[in-house]
Structures are given as structure tokens and as C-alpha cells.
């Protein structure tokens, strides 16, 4: 089915990307801002995410509560994500109901209220969100590892922010941040679905064109190179499961090294979709680490992870240990599998397989209109939409030598952080927790 794509930049700097898809009577509308925890400074960590929350708290035209009601009553859904490099707001609606979300998204680009009472109420909500994450051993381990993996770059702090900052950030801090980064010239508007692209562009111009551009702060962020040496992070906590995470510096999304990393990861830990919004998965049972870690029963599960980021970020291998084996055994296996790749033990068929898996993951993602809006904007955050369009062919061009070089260059033993979460007690509270009737 032919899908028409329009890419243009309005006079105020807003980049607009429109993709016609007529498979269902649905339209998705995304606004992506080039601001995330990468833009934060010490003392204000977590502010990008908090601003995202405040964007749901109303404008004079659309007071808090009215917004969700208006979207929900038409069956639509909306939400937002804050990530290290960006903040995205999306709405997916029945096609004939899209006009209101377009209007309110433009409205909150410049008119959000940030009422002090809403700031106070949201402070406890966000701290509650952080506390929910703190309940998870993996969050605690990842937070400790990120700190060790970056010396000065803001990527070293979790998007949710430090609790002490969340207790201190003021209404004025939030409003200033909002005014600094929420501007048309710092955003990408992406739409996909059942519309006529030319007519939609005319409408968008009427709604968005008059929003003034702003001067966007230069965050002066200096990318970090490889991790220096091998660092160890050990934390302990409740439970009786041991977790092992190993991280190395990974190339940024726009780097030519990124595609060999995708293939390398696919061979080592199995294929994955780069779409954080879902879009299908493929099992990893024939990946090398499954055979050497799980079939050998050293671990019960593992995964690999990387993202397409603006600056070099992290490649992670996470392992859930079998209690009868040590993390040293798992580390030895992982090191040995990485060494095999460095030594050139890669078959051409593995490269071809990884490319077919990527093609399948793309096909799965494309049966969903909301996902199409995701890809239009996401790839613009660290590169351009052509990165997405050429993704499969870029992977097909990766050679065995490219993968070997990447393994040698990035996955060194002396340029990584090894993190271990150890249970503080062998006692488990599973079903043996104290029950009382007077509580709650």
C-alpha cells in the first residue's frame, strides 16, 4: 500500500512529518521535544520528567482534567514519555476526532499553567513513582551502575532524578525549564494515519505557525569516551536472587558503529526491537549466550540492551543468576563468548539471520499506526528519519569484519562496569511474611 510522506519545517522552526496510512480510521499525533535528562544539571535532576507530568496539569483554555476527559470520551488514548534525550507526547484518536488533540498540544506548547498547588501535589506523585522503582532490585542496580559508568555526563543519573532534588525543585524551576525547552524550534511534530497529508499540513500551519520560536539553551554537554578501567559496583538488598549487569560504552545512534553493534548484540543475546513502544519481539533461545549461560544452568535468564542515543550511552548485558552458581562463572562465560567474536568466529549465516530478524521486527511494528508516529519522531531525535528508512539495508551491509572490530573496540575488559546485586539474606519473605488483622 503506497504511503505518502511529507517532511517540512514551518517558519517558526517546527519540523513536521506526516505519513498517510489508510489501513484503519485512526490518526496518531506526536510532539517530540529535544529535551530529556541529558539536559539536566546537578540539583535539578528529574526536572525533565516532572515537566512532562506538569504538561498534563492544564492551560487556561484546557484546565486540568478537561484534557483527559476530552481525549478519553472519544475513545482516544494519550500519554507521554521522558527519556535521556527527549520528551514525547502522543495521542491516538479515531480519525474524525483528531482536531481537538492537535489544538491542545499546540496550546500546551506555550500556555501551561504550572499552578503551585499542582506542583506540590505532583511532587508526591513523582516521589511515589520513584519509590515504586526503588522496590525493584534491578532499578537499584542500574542506578548505581549508571553513576559509575559516567564521570560527568548527565546520562549517569536516572531519568526519574535524585530524591533529594525531587524534594527541592520549585515551581519556578519547573516553569523556567518549560519555557526554555518547549518551543517549536526544539520540537518535531509527527503524525501518521488516515488523513490527507496536504490538507493536514494546511491545518497544522494554522494551529502551530504562530507559536513563537525561542532561544534554546546550549547545554554544552560533552560526550564521554570509553569507561576507564574495570569498575565494580556491589549492592545488596532484600530477596534471594542475585543479579549481574555488565555495561560498556556504546556508540551513539548516528554513529557508523551503531549497526555492527546491533548485529553483534543479535548474535550474542538475541534480536530486539528498538521501539520502546512495543512492536514485537523474537525469542533469544538460539543466541550464543542462551546456549552457554542458560542451557548450562549458570543463569536462569539474561538480556542485552542498547539504545539509539544522541551521545555514546551504554551496552548492557543483564543476567539473573541461578542460585547454585557464582557471578564469576557467568562473567567467564560472557567473556569467553565475546572473545569468540573478537577472534572472528562468526558465520555469514548469522549475519543474514540477524538482518532477516530486523526486517521481521520492522514489519511487526508497521501494522500499528501509533508505532509509525513513534518512528517518525524518534529517529529525528538522534539522527533523521532516513536512519529509520535505511535501517534494514544498513544492517545488511554490516560485514563480519565490522562486527569483529566493534567487539574489539567497545567490549574490552578494561572499559566496563560490573555490577552485582546480592541478596542481603538467604531468608525469603515469600508467603512467610507476617500477617496481621489490625493493619491497613
Amino acid at each position: 500500500m503506497a504511503e505518502k510522506l511529507i517532511k517540512t519545517i514551518l517558519d517558526n522552526g517546527l519540523k513536521v512529518m506526516l505519513k498517510e496510512i489508510h489501513s484503519a480510521p485512526i490518526i496518531t499525533h506526536w510532539v517530540w521535544y529535544r529535551v530529556g535528562s541529558r539536559n539536566e544539571i546537578p540539583g535539578l535532576t528529574g526536572i525533565s520528567h516532572w515537566v512532562e507530568h506538569m504538561q498534563f496539569k492544564g492551560t487556561p483554555k484546557y484546565p486540568a482534567g478537561v484534557l483527559d476527559k476530552e481525549i478519553s470520551r472519544d475513545g482516544g488514548y494519550w500519554n507521554a514519555f521522558t527519556y535521556i534525550d527527549w520528551t514525547a507526547f502522543y495521542t491516538t484518536m479515531p480519525a474524525d476526532k483528531i482536531w481537538l488533540p492537535i489544538d491542545l498540544e499546540a496550546d500546551r506548547m506555550q500556555n501551561s499553567l504550572y499552578l503551585p498547588e499542582e506542583v506540590d501535589s505532583e511532587r508526591t506523585v513523582i516521589i511515589s513513582e520513584r519509590e515504586g522503582s526503588e522496590n525493584e532490585p534491578m532499578f537499584r542496580l542500574e542506578e548505581a551502575i549508571a553513576k559509575a559508568a559516567f564521570m560527568h555526563h548527565p546520562y549517569g543519573v536516572e531519568v526519574i532524578g535524585e530524591k533529594e532534588d525531587l524534594l527541592k525543585i520549585s515551581r519556578d524551576d519547573l516553569f523556567r525549564y518549560y519555557r526554555s525547552y518547549y518551543a517549536p524550534n526544539n520540537a518535531v511534530l509527527a503524525m501518521a494515519g488516515d488523513f490527507n497529508a496536504e490538507k493536514m499540513l494546511d491545518h497544522l500551519k494554522k494551529v502551530y505557525q504562530d507559536i513563537p520560536a525561542r532561544e534554546i539553551p546550549d547545554s554544552k554537554i560533552k560526550p564521554e569516551g570509553f569507561i576507564q578501567g574495570e569498575k565494580r559496583v556491589e549492592i545488596s538488598g532484600p530477596g534471594d536472587v542475585t543479579y549481574l549487569n555488565i555495561v560498556w560504552r556504546a556508540p551513539q545512534g548516528s554513529s557508523r558503529d551503531f549497526f555492527p553493534l546491533v548485529i553483534l548484540d543479535s548474535i550474542l543475546t538475541g534480536p530486539r526491537s528498538l521501539n520502546m513502544f512495543g512492536g514485537g519481539s523474537i525469542p533469544n533461545k538460539t543466541s550464543r549466550l542462551y546456549r552457554s549461560l542458560v542451557e548450562s544452568q549458570i543463569a536462569v535468564a539474561f538480556s542485552g540492551d542498547y539504545v539509539a542515543s544522541i551521545d555514546p550511552y551504554l551496552f548492557t548485558i543483564s543476567v539473573i543468576m541461578n542460585p547454585d552458581h557464582s557471578v564469576t562463572e557467568a562473567l567467564d562465560v560472557i567473556d569467553s563468548e565475546i572473545q569468540r567474536i573478537k577472534d572472528g568466529d562468526i558465520q555469514e549465516s548469522e549475519l543474514q539471520r540477524a538482518a532477516k530478524q530486523a526486517r521481521a521486527l520492522f514489519a511487526y511494528g508497521c501494522d500499528n499506526i501509533t508505532n509509525q508516529g513513534y518512528w517518525l519522531g524518534y529517529s529525528e531525535m538522534f539522527d533523521s528519519y532516513s536512519w529509520f528508512e535505511n535501517f534494514v539495508s544498513s544492517l545488511e551491509k554490516v560485514s563480519k569484519e565490522d562486527v569483529i572490530n566493534i567487539a574489539n573496540q567497545y567490549l574490552g575488559k578494561n572499559q566496563r562496569v560490573i555490577g552485582v546485586y546480592t541478596p542481603s539474606s538467604s531468608e525469603t519473605s515469600h508467603m512467610e511474611g507476617e500477617m496481621t488483622d489490625e493493619f491497613a
Binding site: 484503519a24 522496590n135 499506526i369
Partner: protein, 427 residues
């Protein structure tokens, strides 16, 4: 494109029952060259022997570990080399499977599903691997305040009824399960009769049905004898407010669940309960509960309500994740909302909002193949009829505020609620 016409109906769903009793549903969507395949067999963890809870889930995880014709590696190599996926798991009433593939690989996936269901071998070495994984997942779950609150809630609410049992099993039951248990369960309960397969995506429906026929027509079996569920213990709300707490050490957040019995899916009260539940704790930012607990008092990141309606019974639950020091206040606010919910009818505005939401939402939920498959399977499982989604608007519009009030009063009694908390009291 008109949204009503985009919904599946008799003119674009091909439904066929094969001679061996398998029902096939197929619908085309050529938006991408891929297909979603999903289905179920009517034998779930409700059939687990009392001392072997978790058996059905365990064996479902072992199904793809080897068959009479292929070993584990051969099976997964076939799937992963083609960029496909295929999973089996168990629910209370079913063994479920779901997969995706490029359209060109549909026949391969169907053949594999048939082979795995007909002739699994449950190799001992793989049983041990998966046993370790399940034991680890139970350990991880035991640290999740949200999951454990749910386990305790079901146990306390349903008691001796099968819905009170933890389908995942216990560490002891998982350790006791062996290959013989799996082979017996498979021999007793697996068969084509009552099985449903749904294929949606870039394949003509007639072709999809033919491919299912090619893969499954040879599977025949005498009718499976399922135990009767006619004399199960009656489920009812506690006689008075019942409070249960599970202490889990060193947790920053506590999870609360407050609620009681809900209607089963085929109950005449289901539709009104669904509409009422949306007003109570789902619409917009989690309905009335979200507004009072999160928006007005800032006590939780998530707070809302859920209606879990299954074949034999159901539950109606309000849940929230709160700081332990806010537990009491959050509980009081939730109970006050429940009192309001059963004391006076919902407003016409609320009712219209929610009706409009359900009607508008349906095409969005079905925007991809997996969404359509989910709805088609529901339609078959609960005998809703091929026209159900085309008629859905009328069904929803017929619910009145009085229906919601009488249904709420039937199921939610603020004096007889079950209140479960899991976390650290002084966290």
C-alpha cells in the same frame, strides 16, 4: 474510512469448524506483510492436581523444548531464523499460544504449533532448566509488593474455590512436578476438540483456514473428559471488613488492593459492571479513584480499579501503590469513594463519557493484528457471535445509571470489603 466498517463482522471474519472440532477464525489485514496467530485449548491450571499447583504453567513452558520430530534447538532455530515468535503459556482455563511471523512463514508456524501440541516430549534436562527459571521467578515475585498483594487478595477472596489458588504454584509444588506429571496431563487433556485458532494479517482468510487445515486435520482424539465444575465452593465477600497485610522487608512503596467479588464474564451484570468500573477507576486518569488519590491528594503514582471477569466468577478491585505512611489515608479515601459509588447513581455526564469512550476505543484497540486477534478470541471464548463488535455500540448505549448502581450494590459492599496490603509497614 468509517470506524464502524473497520470493526470485524460476519462479512470479513471467516469462521470454520474443522471435522476434528478445531474452530478457525481468520481475517485479512494487508497493512504489513506479517500475521498474528493466537489461540487456546480449553485446559488450564484449574485442572492442576491440588498438590501439584503450577503444573499446567510449567508444562506449557516446556512444550517447545522438544517433540517427537525435533529437538529444542531445531525448533527455535526454525522460529528465530525466520524472525518469528511463538509462545505457550497457561491461564486458569486454557493453554494459550501466540505468535507472529512474516506472512510467507505462516505455514511453518502453524505446522510447528500443531507438532508441539500433538507430540511434546518434555525432555528431562529442559524440565530442570525451566524448573530453575520458575523458582527464580517465584523468588523475584515474592519481592514484588504489587504481585504479592494480588496473590493474597485472590487467596483471601476466593478461598477454596479454584480461583483462590495461585496458578504459578509454590516452590514446593514446582519442585515436586516431574515428566510423568506432564505426560499424564497432556494425555488426559490435550486434544483438538474445543481448540480455537485465530489468524489475522497479510493472508487471505480462505488461505489462512486452508493452512490451518493442512497443519491440524490429521489430529484426532476421542473427546476429552474434563472434571465437572458444577459443585465448586460458593464465593462471597467477607462477612465484615477484612484486613490482611503481607510484610515484605525494605520496600519504599506499599501496594493496596481493596475490593470484593465481581461478575463472571457471561453474567447479565457484566456490561453494567464494566461501565461502572470505568467511571470508578479507569476513565481518563483512572476515573474517580485516580482523581481523589492521585490528582487531589498526590498519594500515589498509580491508583485505579479493575474488573476481572472470568468464566466462573470474578473480582472487582481498587488498587494503589502508596508510601507506607499514606496507607491509612489512601484506604480511607478509597473506601469513601466506594461508599459514594454504591450510595448514589453515577451522573449522566459520567455515563455518557464512558459510553462514548468504549465506542470510540474499539477501533483503536484493533489497530494492529494482535489487537484484532485478542478480540476475535474473546468473541469465540464467550460465544458472543460474529456480529458482537458491530452491535457493541447498541449494547453499551443500553446501560443506564440505575443498572450501574444496582450492579455496584450487588457486588461492592463497603462494610464487607477485603483490604490487602503488601510492603513494609514502617518503610
Amino acid at each position: 474510512m468509517n470506524s464502524h466498517n473497520s470493526l470485524p463482522g460476519p462479512d470479513d471474519i471467516l469462521r470454520e469448524e474443522l471435522p476434528n472440532g478445531i474452530v478457525v477464525l481468520a481475517r485479512a489485514n494487508f497493512a504489513s506483510p506479517s500475521v498474528a496467530i493466537s489461540g487456546y485449548m480449553p485446559c488450564g491450571s484449574i485442572l492442576d492436581p491440588a498438590e501439584k499447583t503450577g503444573l499446567c504453567g510449567f508444562l506449557s513452558a516446556c512444550l517447545m523444548r522438544g517433540t517427537a520430530s525435533h529437538d529444542f534447538f531445531q525448533i527455535y532455530n526454525q522460529i528465530e531464523s525466520s524472525g518469528a515468535s511463538l509462545n505457550f503459556n497457561a491461564s486458569t482455563h486454557s493453554v494459550l499460544f501466540s505468535g507472529r511471523s512474516l506472512s510467507e512463514d505462516l505455514a511453518m508456524i502453524l505446522e510447528l504449533i500443531a507438532e508441539v501440541l500433538k507430540s511434546p516430549t518434555f525432555p528431562e534436562t529442559h524440565i530442570e532448566q525451566i524448573r530453575s527459571q520458575i523458582l527464580a521467578s517465584l523468588s523475584i515475585r515474592s519481592q514484588s509488593t504489587q504481585d504479592m498483594a494480588e496473590v493474597i487478595f485472590d487467596r483471601e477472596l476466593f478461598g477454596a474455590h479454584p480461583y483462590g489458588r495461585d496458578d504459578a504454584g509454590t516452590p514446593d509444588s514446582i519442585r515436586s512436578i516431574n515428566q510423568e506429571d506432564m505426560l499424564r496431563f497432556h494425555s488426559d487433556y490435550f486434544g483438538p476438540k474445543g481448540m480455537v485458532i485465530c489468524v489475522v494479517g497479510g493472508v487471505e482468510p480462505a488461505e489462512a483456514v486452508q493452512q490451518v487445515r493442512n497443519a491440524f486435520a490429521s489430529w484426532t482424539k476421542e473427546t476429552v473428559q474434563f472434571p465437572s465444575f458444577d459443585n465448586l465452593p460458593m464465593v462471597q465477600n467477607p462477612n465484615k471488613l477484612k484486613k490482611v497485610h503481607l510484610e515484605i522487608a525494605e520496600k519504599s512503596q506499599m501496594d493496596l488492593i481493596i475490593g470484593g467479588i465481581g461478575p463472571e464474564r457471561k453474567s447479565p451484570f457484566f456490561q453494567a459492571a464494566q461501565v461502572g468500573n470505568c467511571i470508578l477507576g479507569q476513565f481518563g486518569m483512572m476515573g474517580r479513584i485516580g482523581k481523589i488519590v492521585r490528582d487531589d491528594h498526590g498519594l500515589a503514582y498509580y491508583a485505579g480499579s479493575n474488573l476481572n471477569s472470568s468464566l466462573l466468577s470474578g473480582s472487582w478491585e481498587v488498587s494503589a501503590g502508596v508510601n507506607p505512611k499514606n496507607r491509612k489515608k489512601a484506604s480511607e479515601l478509597i473506601i469513601a469513594e466506594l461508599k459514594r459509588f454504591v450510595d448514589s447513581p453515577v451522573s449522566l455526564e459520567e455515563l455518557e463519557d464512558v459510553k462514548s469512550y468504549y465506542i470510540g476505543r474499539l477501533p483503536l484497540d484493533m489497530e494492529n493484528n494482535a489487537g484484532v486477534v485478542y478480540y476475535l478470541l474473546n468473541m469465540e471464548r464467550y460465544s458472543l457471535g460474529l456480529n458482537y463488535y458491530r452491535d457493541y455500540e447498541n449494547l453499551i448505549r443500553s446501560v443506564t445509571a440505575e443498572d450501574v448502581l444496582s450492579t455496584a450494590r450487588k457486588y461492592l459492599d463497603p462494610e464487607r470489603l477485603l483490604i490487602v496490603s503488601a510492603g513494609t509497614k514502617n518503610g
